[in-house]
Subunit: 180 residues, 2 copies
């Protein structure tokens, strides 16, 4: 079985995923009258489960409307003890280092994972555990905020699989990690 860990995320031109106040309003700066999903649903079709940090989980939980994920979501947290009843069978709490977490999730039969949330992404990247990046660049300079990428101990090389423009303004690049 092939294991794959993917990132699907939008950043500002200067590489932030949230502004100085944690806000993400700027993600919606370009009109999207036809609700173009910018490849999200076709990406999600090839995902078995999600892994995200507590902060991202609680942000999504705060959104209005139904729980948005059609796949099991594993939430990394050392502090949460329970999840709301309506998320039974949808959300699972998990603890540990990235490699341990992956072993646990793989053992449950989920091999293609969507890794989400700033800290979670950075910790997986640092361990060399991300195979695929799908990054949509929003044409705005925020000048500060929470960076998608953090410090690494060594270079990671990728190759471009595809590049596509959405809504005339958002460039979505799809990168695959090069084998060492």
């Amino acid at each position: 079985m092939e294991f794959k860990n993917s990132i699907f995320i939008a950043t500002s031109l200067d590489g932030y995923i949230a502004d100085k106040n944690g806000g993400i309003d700027w993600l919606l700066s370009v009109p999207n009258p036809d609700h173009d999903d910018m490849g999200y649903n076709s990406f999600m079709e090839n995902i078995d489960a999600l892994v995200m940090g507590r902060v991202t989980y609680e942000t999504v939980l705060g959104f209005q409307g139904e729980w948005p994920y059609p796949r099991p979501v594993f939430v990394l947290s050392n502090t949460l003890n329970s999840i709301p009843d309506h998320l039974n069978e949808k959300v699972f709490l998990i603890q540990g280092k990235p490699k341990e977490i992956l072993e646990t999730i793989h053992s449950k039969g989920f091999s293609r994972l969507y890794i989400d949330g700033g800290k979670t992404i950075q910790s997986f990247l640092k361990e060399g555990l991300i195979n695929e990046l799908i990054i949509t660049t929003i044409p705005i300079l925020l000048g500060g905020g929470f960076s998608l990428f953090g410090e690494l101990n060594s270079l990671i090389n990728f190759e471009l699989k595809s590049s596509k423009v959405y809504l005339g303004n958002y460039v979505q690049n799809h990168f695959i990690r090069l084998k060492k």
Copy 2:
């Protein structure tokens, strides 16, 4: 006369223009047998002069071969007193804040400027003086180095003019600053 200040530069996926040791070898990670200039010469045709910091100037000066710029180069420096004889009429030392520098250069008849060098670009961006960004993304995570973008006091919105892939691996995005 219309004044324009442009950036034409390459960055890593994580937004660095030089690695932790100041190195730029990673810029050449993809084979380029036909010496594709990735739009550089056609960009330069619409430039009247360059503005760069001392560090960038001295880096270029250290390259083998002839002085590469076909346009006058204004070098920002508070410490340099002279330039080599062979660069007379090609390189001019200049001092001051970005707006003062621009007034001086504009008064000499140069209106379309290529702003280059990390610190120089950041100081011009911070003053809201950059109209055009042409950024080529190299598919590598460096994990540290000198960032193209720095802190800003306020957001800057751009629109995408074009996006093009070079050598199958480098995505070059051309952004124009939106009028306020």
